[in-house]
Symmetry: D2
Subunit: 339 residues, 4 copies
């Protein structure tokens, strides 16, 4: 099941070391301004090698649009975009041919599919998430037309047991991107950097949290029962490899989560922007939990893997949110208020 | 979107105070033993009025199977089952006709649909969850045939800020049901009872957590990327009204969650039963977060609503898990190992 | 797969001699006027026993709405409606318990599902089509709001090898219903009656054609490629039991079918209302082919089965068209012209 | 809606004069032998310029597999394959920029999407069908493993009003391909050739029929009600651009169709391989109707368009059948006989 969505549908394909990865967006309306550069900028935010705290692999990740866009606007037809893999069969990985990597899904995957693509994880690789960013960027191009006030921003809110302060409303992606940790707390992020570099040295890895805030939502978004906004967001977050959980609620209450002896939502008069499965116009906040990435110590030391994937996962989660919102807006269009 | 699942599909219908609620299960294989009594027993576990800590409403919730079962076995055709509402238009609710209930989704629902069904919440009522239990019971009847070792058990693990001890492996539903709190910890549950009764007195309400443990899973269950077991479970949990989050992982690590300064999954060598989106044969553990139910104080005092819905939500969450598993098993059948 | 549609979705359930049959419509917008009487009137058009040329079985087919309608309007929630079977286990059918009925799908169904519901055909019975009429009536209630000029009319155009004249534009359902054959040609229908009665006498049965004309369609209806209007109509028609084919085109060209040495669509300047998979605002015409119903001669003689099912199939096919149109209109709403 | 299928799913993308067209197959089991050459051979059967009776455009249509295949076998991951367009912006088409082509869907498409891709038809071009052939070839690779006796063969059975003789059982694709008309009747095909060449000379075009025969089907294929084999085949055929109808039945009865005063299926004891929506193990026969292609006379004369597209449509229809069968077989696997 490599497709997500009902009306704004993302299909992803591609193995991490095959010829290419790519995405199809089916259902994007016609007339939405969209360029290769927009997608490239978004992919560059996800790209490794951006700083000393991420992996040193130089993957250019050049995107090419194959269909669905003409003279700078969407056609209403499926939008296909691909990224070629430049080092399809790395010698680094060949030695893995006969062994399962501890902590990786190799064994269970081989049991299921009676083969193992030894080229670096195949579809279970984090590299697949670039396809989500392609899709999310198209979703955001669509959303920007009808909902210019919509603002979806994610940031790293916890690394290991180090929790950052909750940022003020109106946080921008540029503010988040200003630091390689993608944590907007000026104090916590310096300590986060130190811990990530130490983990890199030790061949260790770190989990933590990403927080997401969605501001400027229209009222009434979401389809009752199994299409509730919170159900679809939970699905979307749970589809990302290293994610181990998600909670949602009003922004101020999320700050209490990691504190001892506190329950979420102890205030019954606040709802976190989602009521009865529908958006109520208030901001929606999400906290997404990540486990430490599993990897071979020698690889981690060699700089081939991120000791902490959360900084790079920030644009991936923003993309997943935008895909869900674009799908729900099309569904709301289908059954407008006047019925 | 009132349908869940790809091959084992649940569709639910019915307003809380309309003529009836019901479920259709489409995709259940033929030949599965199934009786009205099985479903009735499951519904009785969800029914209010079971003890002093739940609402006193006497709802008989008598189920009737309309199709799909013949001479005690499923036919392979859609299974329809309904529960009639006995008090369709309660005078208690008529006074609500012109006012939105604070804390309820009335306002956002009216904005979306340009009407409000004033009869007690309509589809946003918790009463809709009986439809999930019907579906889950059929899923469990199917699962019992091919996977007799499969054991899905949920229990109340936290009420307010009171956290229970983690139970031993092999916990049974009978052990959970032995106490009205549905908490198996003999110490914590007494205190939970006291707090729930106090909240009832005060017209207050309590949130908390339900933990779920799934043992005896086959290896390789789950569809890569958007059909990952953890994504589908997150979706299913997020579709339940009062749920505000879900985390998953190995049973022993879940015990650390509400503790100060702890991250989930700090041990990189354990995976909680799900790897690369597929089950690996180990137990899967989930923790599901609930907000305190919103309700009118006068209603809560009158005993018409549960001050703490978690004890009654236990069979609902078990049902959601079973529905996801039945769907994934059919998908695994479709593409068996030998390809 | 007992569900049809993407946004306006019909799910049907029920065996011909089980407790009840029924339909769920999920996705109908809120605020659409709908009453039990509307559905009852539509079901009565499909009902057997209306004249000497149909089966004499007296099936009351009383419909009951269980959900989704309140104070005469749809709520936007799933609409469930059921029809109870009054003679669930007819003695007439018990003798069939151990034998497959020649011409029926009993053998192939038993091979697939390892059982046979001997109670008169189960889901393969034509009785299942009453569920389509329930759904189609709701679709028409929705369409009547936004598209009052939309007019979908079907009629019996051929019985055996007897072909009727093509009616003038603007034909109404009342005109079609004025004669038990549901053929508007005043000459042909008398001969059709004679042939059907003769077949009934002989325990024989007759195939033929139903023509459908859809007038007043908006422009641009249909989703490119696999959601083309003609593809969805073909699917919907092909899902009806005795249907063995469907052709579509401009109304005047359909009249040439079955004539010797003629091809369809020899005029390249007319398109029959569907171009590039989208409606172009002109009328759409369909011709649907039926095989003679297979049945036991003794049953046919006993008046228990229709020697020619086409008169009763007229409202079923109209319903299928309306379901497709309602679904496509919601999809068009989702991606309106202004993109 | 550019996706077809439930478990074996084809998604197509690409405009006729954009950078590339392509297909994603999601759901093909792992371990199926598949090479680029297999797909190339199939595409070459669809390619124009094969003989004097088809268009002279030299489109190389080189396929490239981007994902899902490794060391000659499918991985169980999505299979993506693309074909680059070599002449993306033909000067021949630039002059069409400001005018709608008569007989084409340009006007209705522009009304719907508020733009027109003037580059030769975009998605409404017959060129999109190469994506179906890619998908169909993968479906056939899968089917060849489990059902080596399965034989799906299509041929041109009628051109204009010229009807060919019905071929003997066991007809092969090689026999069909032996003549550029793809008609196996040695007499009729010579006259067909003459008529097609005459139409080409005159800037005229010709419709007609393709017949399809499926032999070696397993018993019980098809999902009841809306997933009936005949419903899915009708949908698949109706999704092909120039198709205006489809009928199905036993092979010998199909031969009567174009004869005067004959109805289909006048013999009640034969069923054409599909009963109750399920395959019964007998051959299935389909007749698919085509309208004459609409085109500009000057283009037709210049040899840029086929005066008769049916010879090239033969592999397209075979592909559509194979896609439906692969999907139904996976669904049958999901709910095997033993239930």
């Amino acid at each position: 099941m490599n497709t997500l969505g009902t009306l704004f549908r993302l299909t992803t394909f591609g193995e991490s070391h095959g010829p290419a990865l790519g995405s199809i967006i089916d259902g994007c309306p016609a007339g939405v301004p969209l360029t290769t550069e927009q997608i490239q900028v978004a992919l560059d935010r996800r790209r490794p090698g951006q700083s000393s705290i991420t992996t040193a692999r130089a993957e250019p990740d050049q995107v090419e649009i194959l269909s669905g866009v003409f003279e700078g606007k969407t056609l209403g037809t499926p939008i296909a975009a691909i990224v070629r893999n430049t080092n399809q069969r790395s010698g680094d990985y060949d030695k893995l041919k006969s062994e399962d990597r501890p902590g990786h899904a190799d064994a269970v995957w081989r049991e299921r599919f009676k083969h193992r693509d030894h080229r670096g994880g195949g579809r279970t690789s984090g590299r697949e998430t670039l396809c989500r960013v392609i899709g999310g960027t198209i979703a955001e191009a669509y959303l920007a037309q009808g909902f210019p006030q919509l603002n979806t921003v994610a940031w790293v809110s916890q690394v290991g047991d180090l929790v950052s302060a909750v940022p003020e409303p109106g946080l921008t992606r540029a503010q988040v991107d200003a630091h390689p940790t993608r944590c907007p707390d000026p104090v916590a992020r310096e300590e986060m950097s130190r811990r990530i570099l130490a983990a890199k040295e030790d061949g260790d890895s770190l989990g933590g949290c990403i927080d997401i805030r969605v501001e400027g939502l229209p009222v009434g978004l979401g389809e009752p029962i199994f299409g509730k906004m919170k159900a679809l967001l939970a699905h979307a977050m749970g589809s990302v490899g290293a994610v181990t959980g998600v909670v949602w609620g009003p922004p101020d209450l999320l700050s209490r989560i990691a504190q001892p002896g506190k329950v979420f939502h102890s205030r019954k008069d606040t709802y976190g922007g989602i009521q009865g499965g529908l958006s109520n116009g208030e901001p929606v906040a999400l906290r997404v939990f990540f486990k430490p990435p599993a990897t071979l110590a020698e690889h981690a030391k060699g700089g081939r893997h991120d000791p902490c994937i959360m900084p790079r996962a920030v644009p991936v989660l923003e993309s997943m949110v935008s895909l869900v919102l674009a799908d729900l807006i099309l569904q709301l269009n289908a059954r407008p208020h006047s019925a």
